[in-house]
Structure formats: structure tokens, C-alpha cells
């Protein structure tokens, strides 16, 4: 146990000195493995060579650049306007209707994009001007966009689920399937948060115009392509027609066709999208390699066993342990960048959770939800940074207050998902 804790501490010191997390983990993994072999560096060096080579040459991992590319392409194709319009025709006439339309449109965009930040950024450009035009308060509109945006990583596809799947060797297709029902619960709860806000302050979200069924039908036809892309990619993965990797390739290709058909893609933007996806993927691979090296060290120590014994000796109920882990994440998530938080802690918590008899898929969904909460929790939340960058005239104080009801909704959802694992596990259980 001691050596793992020392290793963890030293790694954190390196990371706090701004050494990239990938290197901090890799270096400590290397030093740790050497230490465990009485400072014999040969096995440690062999470990480093193997990990770099195996992460690089791994067919399954081609899912990472392909899903990132898909997200980059759909963002550039600009479907957000149609999604927002379609959602508006259904709920726009209700109090707070535009904010709910934003949440629903975010859910729709999340179904073809695996990134929360991209979902929030894309939606902000469409939904904020519309809400502003109708006299919505900045508190409600920015809160709805930031909160709704987090649905991007919960509703499949999801880059975070891919990372979790690779780190823990959990089936990515099943993780995707597991995200669907919690995504629907989340959309519903976020709409409730909108209702709460307008109940307290009715002036913050006035009603829009009611749309006729004809208008609704026409608006729905505008989003058929989003639906088609989702059904082909997720349906294909879910139905076992193709693997997650193949689904990612089909999704990226579909998104490309789609962007070309809409005429929103120039060679320049395609080229930029490709390069950006390659860079982001390289960054993720570096981190994965580092995390795998560090996990190699931790797994050779007595720490995983000691943690299990500790939990057994404390006689805690397993569900309390999971709740405690989630609470730690929610607290850490307020101050820490979420991806680093997950990468640093999953190698330690994951074996414990599996040992307690829980389903890795369920824990994966909980991880996604705590990251979502972290993304909108002040002071360090990426979606709040997105809002701040896109809408610099909205004071930070307003942003922080506006997002509160949505944070509460997210914490309620976390509790629901912990209490009822079936919501997450039912759909994947039907897969072959």
C-alpha cells in the first residue's frame, strides 16, 4: 500500500508542477515498476516499450479518432438550428418553453456528437439569440445551454465512454446502450429544473407561440438526417450489425456525406476538422498510454487488495461505498478538470467497485454523470467556460447562479441512477 500511495503522491506533485498528466503517470509507472523489481530497470523499460507499441497498434482504438471526427463534422455541418426549431414547435408555447426546447435540442445533438463542450457551444449560437429575443433572463438561458450541453457525453456516442471503456476493458457498445435511458431521465429532469426556475421567477422565461401540427411535422422533417445518423450508428452497434469501431467509421462517413449535402463544408473546414481530430486523438492516446503504465505499477502493488480489505473491515455496505466515491467525484469536480480527475482515479476505484460485485457498465454511467456535474459546477466547469467565451457580456455571477437548478437536477439524477441500476443496465442486458 505505502509504495502505491507514495507513487500516487509523487505523480500528483509532478502533475501539479504542470507536467502533462500523460507523462506524469507514465514516469511514475516506470519508476514504480523499477522500484518493485529492486531498481532493476530492464523490466520497466520493456513495459514502456510494450505499452507504447500496443496502444498505438490496437484496432479497437481506431474508434477514438473516428468518433471525434464524427463530432467535429456534425458540429461543422450545423444541424443545431433545425434541432432547436423542431423542439421549439413542440414545447415553445409553454412557460420556459424555449429553455426546454434548448435542453431537448441538446439531447438530440448529443445523439450524434460525443462531446458536451461541442454540444453546448453549438447550441449556444442558436438558442441564446432566440431566448434573448423573447426576453428570457440570462440566468435561465445560459443555465439551460450549459446544463443541456452536458447531455452530449451521456447520450451515445460519447468520447468519455470510449475512454472509460478502453481504460477498464469494458464493452463500448454496451456502455453506449446504457447511456440512452439515463439520457432520457436527464432530459426530463433538466426540463423540470427549467420549470422550477420559471416557477420562482415567471418573468425569466415567457411563453412563445404555439405551433400547429403542420408546422411540427415540417420541423420534424428538417431533422430526419440527425435521426437517420443516430439510428444507423447506434442501431447498428446495438443490433450487433457492426462493432463500435465500425459504427464510428460509418458515423464519421455519414456525417461527412451529410455536411457535404448541406453545402456547409468547405475543403478548408474539412481539413481543419481532420487535423483537429488527429491532434485530439493523439493527446488522448498519450494519456491512455500513461494511465496504462501507471495502472501496471498500481496493480503490482498491494494497494488494490489493501483497499478491498479496508472496505471489508469497515463493514460498509457496498452501495454506500459507491455513493461515497460519487460524492468524492462531485466535490473534486468543482475544482478539477474532469478528464484528468477520471484518468487519475479510475485505475484506483475501478477494481474496488468490481470487487464489490457491481457492474462495470453501471459504474461507467455513474462516472459520466459525475463528469457532467463537474462540467457545470463552479468555479471550474468547462461548459461554464464555453458560455463565458461565447457570451462574454454575461457576468460570471449570473452564469454561476443560473446553472444551480440544473446542478441540483443532475445530483438528483445521480441519486436515481445509483438507486436504480436497472435504468442503466436494462438496454445493454438485451444485447447479444
Amino acid at each position: 500500500m505505502t509504495e502505491a500511495l507514495v507513487g500516487l503522491g509523487l505523480m500528483l506533485v509532478l502533475a501539479l508542477l504542470r507536467v502533462p498528466i500523460a507523462l506524469a503517470m507514465g514516469v511514475m509507472g516506470f519508476v514504480g515498476v523499477a522500484y518493485l523489481r529492486d531498481w532493476n530497470f530492464a523490466p520497466a523499460m520493456a513495459m514502456v516499450e510494450t505499452k507504447i507499441y500496443e496502444t498505438g497498434r490496437n484496432y479497437t482504438l481506431s474508434v477514438v479518432p473516428l468518433f471525434i471526427l464524427m463530432g467535429n463534422l456534425v458540429t461543422r455541418a450545423g444541424m443545431s438550428q433545425e434541432l432547436f426549431r423542431a423542439a421549439y414547435t413542440f414545447v415553445g408555447h409553454l412557460r420556459g418553453g424555449l429553455a426546454m426546447a434548448t435542453v431537448v435540442a441538446c439531447a438530440g445533438f448529443g445523439a450524434i456528437c460525443g462531446s458536451s463542450i461541442a454540444t453546448a457551444a453549438t447550441m449556444a449560437k442558436v438558442a441564446y439569440p432566440a431566448m434573448k429575443g423573447l426576453g428570457y433572463s440570462d440566468r435561465l438561458s445560459t443555465g439551460a445551454i450549459a446544463g443541456g450541453g452536458t447531455l452530449g457525453i451521456l447520450i451515445p456516442p460519447s468520447t468519455l465512454m470510449v475512454i472509460y471503456g478502453v481504460l477498464t476493458e469494458t464493452n463500448i457498445g454496451k456502455l453506449f446502450a446504457a447511456g440512452i435511458l439515463p439520457g432520457i431521465v436527464a432530459t426530463f429532469l433538466l426540463c423540470l429544473a427549467v420549470q422550477w426556475t420559471v416557477l420562482v421567477d415567471p418573468a425569466s422565461g415567457p411563453r412563445g407561440e404555439r405551433s400547429s401540427w403542420g408546422e411540427r411535422w415540417r420541423a420534424l422533417k428538417g431533422v430526419w438526417a440527425v435521426l437517420a445518423l443516430f439510428v444507423v450508428v447506434m442501431g447498428g452497434i446495438y443490433g450487433g450489425v457492426f462493432t463500435a469501431t465500425e459504427g464510428a467509421g460509418m458515423g464519421a462517413f455519414g456525417a461527412l456525406m451529410f455536411a457535404l449535402a448541406r453545402g456547409t463544408l468547405s475543403w478548408r473546414t474539412l481539413f481543419d476538422g481532420l487535423i483537429e481530430s488527429a491532434r485530439t486523438s493523439a493527446m488522448l492516446f498519450a494519456i491512455l498510454t500513461g494511465a496504462l503504465m501507471f495502472a501496471e505499477f498500481v496493480n503490482y502493488t498491494t494497494m488494490p487488495g489493501d483497499l478491498k480489505n479496508l472496505v471489508t473491515s469497515l463493514d460498509l455496505s457496498p452501495i454506500m461505498v459507491v455513493a461515497a466515491i460519487c460524492a468524492i467525484y462531485v466535490i473534486l469536480g468543482t475544482a478539477m478538470e474532469e478528464l484528468s480527475m477520471i484518468l487519475l482515479t479510475v485505475p484506483i476505484f475501478f477494481p474496488l467497485v468490481v470487487h464489490l460485485g457491481f457492474d462495470p457498465i453501471w459504474f461507467g454511467i455513474l462516472i459520466v454523470v459525475v463528469v457532467e456535474i463537474g462540467l457545470i459546477s463552479p468555479p471550474v466547469g468547462m461548459n461554464l467556460f464555453v458560455m463565458n467565451a461565447l457570451l462574454p457580456h454575461v457576468p460570471t455571477r449570473v452564469l454561476f447562479r443560473g446553472v444551480l437548478p440544473f446542478m441540483v437536477a443532475d445530483i438528483v439524477r445521480l441519486a436515481i441512477l445509483i438507486a436504480f441500476p436497472t435504468i442503466s443496465l436494462w438496454l445493454p442486458s438485451l444485447m447479444r
Binding site: L17, I52, L69, L274
Partner: protein, 174 residues
């Protein structure tokens, strides 16, 4: 290498960027073509699996120097708030020096691995493509990444803003 280091960096961005973009485009088309050809024409592409692996490997390692150039690696930035701008600059340079040294060490180990693979004469299963040239390319890219960090020690470039500038059009992993 061009005489001016800034030009050399821009040149690296262009060349590797074009290579990475092309590789990713081919990777996507190959994956889609494989699925379509298998299910619609009942005719799987021979060796698509192997080509995917090798494309991915080249793509990722070509992207690595680009990610380092753009300063995109995930870091914890708590310490920035505790330092003066001068202190921040000094720390960045020291850390880039350390990173460069470590990454060059990694490049050496990958090169050794490539030597081993070349000595076995490893090839892929179906298409019998030799693997070692790809691993040598990996080592080369890792070495370039190390040099990118070392270059940042001398020419810190643009990523020394006091506050990190957030680009909302970027697709982050979360």
C-alpha cells in the same frame, strides 16, 4: 530544417497536419467501405483490419508533435494562480526541458523496440506487410515531439498567456 525556428515549426505543422488529415480520411473511408462491402456485397476487404491498425498507429504518432506544438496536452493548472507571470514562464521552460528529455528517452526505447521487430522480421498476418518501418516512424515522431518541447524552452511561442484562452469551437474529449 529551415533557418528560422518559427518557420520550421510552421512547416512541421503543415506537413504533419496534411499527413494526419489524409491518414484519418483514409481510415474513415476504409472502415466505412469495409462495412458496406461486407454487408451489402458480402465481400469483406482483405486485410482491412491490418491496414486500419497501421493507419491508426501512423495517424496517432503523426498527431503527437502537433498536439505538443499546440500545447494541447492535459495539465493541471492550479499552480498558475500562485505564480507571477515571470515565475510561470520559468516553470514552463523547466517543465518543457524535462518533458523533452523524457520524451527523447521514450523515442530511444521505441527505436530499440523497432530494432527488435526488424530483427524478427515481423510482418502482418494477411498482407505480409513489414511492421518495423512503422515502428521506426513511431520512434521518429516521438523524437520530433521531444524536440518540439525542447524548442519551446528556447522559443516559448504563443502559449504563455496569463489566462488560458478557451476556444469554444474545439471539440474537447469531454
Amino acid at each position: 530544417m529551415a533557418a528560422n525556428p518559427q518557420d520550421a515549426g510552421a512547416w512541421l505543422d503543415r506537413v504533419l497536419g496534411a499527413a494526419a488529415a489524409l491518414l484519418l480520411l483514409v481510415l474513415m473511408l476504409l472502415t466505412a467501405a469495409d462495412v458496406v462491402s461486407r454487408y451489402i456485397f458480402n465481400w469483406p476487404l482483405r486485410g482491412a483490419f491490418e491496414i486500419t491498425e497501421l493507419l491508426l498507429l501512423t495517424l496517432i504518432f503523426a498527431g503527437l508533435p502537433l498536439a505538443s506544438r499546440a500545447g494541447e496536452h492535459v495539465t493541471l493548472d492550479f499552480i498558475d494562480r500562485a505564480l507571477t507571470p515571470g515565475g510561470r514562464r520559468l516553470l514552463r521552460r523547466l517543465i518543457d526541458l524535462l518533458c523533452g528529455a523524457i520524451i527523447l528517452g521514450l523515442a530511444w526505447r521505441v527505436w530499440v523496440k523497432a530494432d527488435k521487430i526488424a530483427a524478427y522480421g515481423d510482418t502482418t498476418e494477411v498482407l505480409r506487410l513489414p511492421v518495423s518501418p512503422f515502428v521506426y516512424a513511431m520512434a521518429l515522431m516521438v523524437a520530433i515531439t521531444g524536440l518540439v518541447h525542447l524548442a519551446k524552452v528556447i522559443f516559448p511561442g504563443q502559449d504563455e498567456r496569463a489566462e488560458p484562452v478557451f476556444d469554444p469551437d474545439k471539440i474537447g474529449p469531454t
